[in-house]
Amino acid sequence: MSRSRAAGRRLFASVLFLVLVAAACGDSDDDATTDTTVAEATDSTESESTEAPDDTEAATDTTEAAPETTTAEGDDATAATATIGIVNIAPVAALELVNDGFTDGMGECAAVDATLDYRNAEGDGSQLAPIVAEFLDSDVDLILAISTPVLQATVAANEADGRGTPVLFGAVTDPFAAGAAAGPDDKPDWLAGWQADAPVVGMFDIAAEINPEATTIGVAYDPSLVNSVVALAKREAEAEARGWTVETATIGDSSEVGTAANSLATRDIDFFFVPTDSILVNGLAGMAQVADDFDIPMIAQDSGITQAGAAIGTGLDYYGDGRRNADYACQILSGQATPADFPIQQFSEELVAYSTTNAAAQGIEIPATVAEVGTDIG
């Protein structure tokens, strides 16, 4: 009696264990789809490691499963074959876009028949060193590092390795501050890439064009997110240079966004500036209602935020970042160039999106300059 019960219990425990294991495995596949906390991952190490794990939500339509292997077919029969290791820190939309752009770019590269090996650390920074080490061990021909912490891990490992495997990087805000390079030309011979420093000026220019008399902007942000604090500091510096003032309200929870927006609105602000703050973006509908009632337009730091209620969103084109890196990779792997030929440059192509519906609700018309370059999401 008691023995059979014990056996039953053991069976139950093992079934439970298997279910847990299965759930854990399933998780690592699902997790690649994450929320719309876009450019923040480029800003600092902390922002990623704090952001990614608690964003276990499936909010975007990127359905990327890690690890994944894609073969880009070259038409040319004489194409050189190469293996490229791609490392991403977290399943964040902007970072996935770099990979998408790179994959598409390599597909069009006729000179190289590349096998892409994509790995996502799922927000766990301690996974980076093992992934890079594995790539170096398996003699990949090139590594694409997506985001700052990945770049740092890759540079460290590659320096120690000493073979000089070419390394490209994408979605890195400041490769110099990250210690990967001392200057645009003063860098390791095997390193190349583009600096993705999101311009703050764009939002101010758009605001000034919509309302030339504007002097005050309101920013709601979660002070526990490093990227939001950094973005706010940049914004305050730019505002000071222009003689504008920045009103702030902090939030700790998406349910506080409405109250915070209300508080900002009563301080006579001319615009809401929406940083890529995941807490804020999750509760942005609360701000959108206030913007509607007070006729205060919302300008966002990323084009994707227009879906969540902003009138205009302007952010870096991360897909283009991936394509440019693919162009580098194509030239390097086909032997036409070496990474040393490419100094680190800043790219400033922005992806602009606007919503005529939101703009009308917030009492503005989309300026012609925005309408020219942006896409209307309706």
Partner: protein, 374 residues
């Protein structure tokens, strides 16, 4: 550590007379400091109050009314049942989740309210059963339910965030007429407050209905049994009251009220977020305590107590709105400024102080009694 405990225990003995005098001097010093602080803060506080516009007051009122059922639910578990229950942090987003799904699928915004209450009650039943039948400590039981609720909520919602901006909510049919009316009365201010006014005026009806139901319920035999269960479980058992069932029922009732708040909140805010609701238990406790202190700690009838708690929640929300507006720069400091995020610390501190006051006065009475005996 263990070797040091005997001398430490010795100091617990009642302090000698001189020390007591010293402590009264200390009390004067602390009192004077607090007085100074208050005097220093009055101008900034006044500045905050006067800078609060009508939109913020109405918004605070609306949010306070929305959270009033949750505060009543927390009062029910915390004070009536004497069962500290953290499940509320999970039943709030649960109510929001089911409401959001029903609304976005065009079922019915009104049906979302009972559905949210049902789901909240279900979570309460789980916590109660874990506690009663598996003998899991009440806090642990509620944390377990809360953890599991996250997954349930995510499954219900399908995604972490649902926008309801373009869906019909219970407030939607009234928003337009109320806006037009308010605009004709107050101009642009009317437009700015119309959403909060709509929410407040409809939610106050729901809150009154909830209050009436609670008043009726706590006069029935079941309600009285529930109160007895909380007051003295052993005694109730000896009176042939099925305390387990009443405890589970009470926790379920409490969480159904929190679920109702969740459903109302998403309809007002225009979105459902899986991660909202963290810390609801503490703000609810703060509302309970503020309500007791400000609006009747001696209230006898259950109705008066629940009303006090509801008013406490409105006062708490007004205080938060005030803090968002306050530019509290302490004299002599340059950089230190109170931020809205400091609310969490302030709330926790208020709760601790208020919970400590009865204990401190008890200790003092005890000491006085001992002195009288000596």
């Amino acid at each position: 550590m263990t070797t040091e405990s005997p001398p430490a225990a010795a100091t617990v003995r009642p302090p000698p007379a001189e020390e007591r005098d010293g402590s009264s001097i200390g009390r004067i010093v602390v009192g004077a400091f607090l007085l100074l602080l208050v005097v220093a803060l009055v101008p900034t506080l006044w500045g905050a109050v006067s800078s609060m516009g009508a939109p913020q007051w109405t918004e605070a009122l609306a949010i306070g009314l929305i959270f009033a059922p949750a505060a009543m639910g927390i009062y029910l578990t915390f004070r009536v049942l004497d069962f500290p229950d953290l499940t509320v942090d999970g039943s709030f987003p649960a109510g929001g989740a089911i409401a959001a799904v029903l609304i976005t699928n065009d079922v019915s915004a009104w049906l979302a309210l009972p559905a949210a209450m049902l789901l909240g009650a279900l979570l309460g039943v789980v916590t109660g059963c874990l506690h009663i039948y598996l003998r899991i400590n009440s806090l642990l039981a509620s944390i377990i339910t809360l953890t599991a609720a996250f997954t349930v909520n995510l499954r219900i919602q399908g995604s972490a965030n649902i926008s309801l901006l373009n869906s019909d909510r219970i407030f939607t049919p009234w928003t337009e007429p109320i806006r037009d009316q308010l605009e004709s009365w107050f101009g642009s201010t009317g437009v700015q407050i119309h959403r909060a006014v709509t929410t407040a005026s409809m939610t106050v009806l729901i809150v009154v209905a909830v209050l009436l139901v609670l008043r009726w319920f706590f006069a029935t035999e079941v309600g009285l049994g529930m109160r007895a269960t909380g007051a003295n479980r052993e005694m109730s058992q000896s009176q042939a009251i099925d305390t387990s069932r009443y405890l589970i029922g009470g926790v379920a009732l409490s969480n159904s009220l929190v679920g109702l708040t969740g459903a109302l909140f998403v309809q007002h805010a225009g979105f459902a977020d899986i991660n909202s609701g963290a810390g609801l238990i503490v703000s609810g406790l703060a509302a309970v305590i503020i309500g007791e202190v400000l609006f009747g700690s001696k209230a006898r009838s259950m109705l008066a107590r629940f009303v006090a708690v509801a008013l406490g929640m409105i006062a708490y929300r007004a205080a938060i709105a005030l803090a968002l507006n306050a530019d509290l720069r302490f004299p002599g400091t340059d950089g230190f400024r109170l931020e809205a995020s400091d609310i969490k610390f302030a709330t926790a501190a208020v709760v601790v102080v208020m919970l400590a006051i009865p204990r401190v006065s008890e200790t003092r009475k005890e000491r006085a009694r001992r002195r009288a005996r000596a």
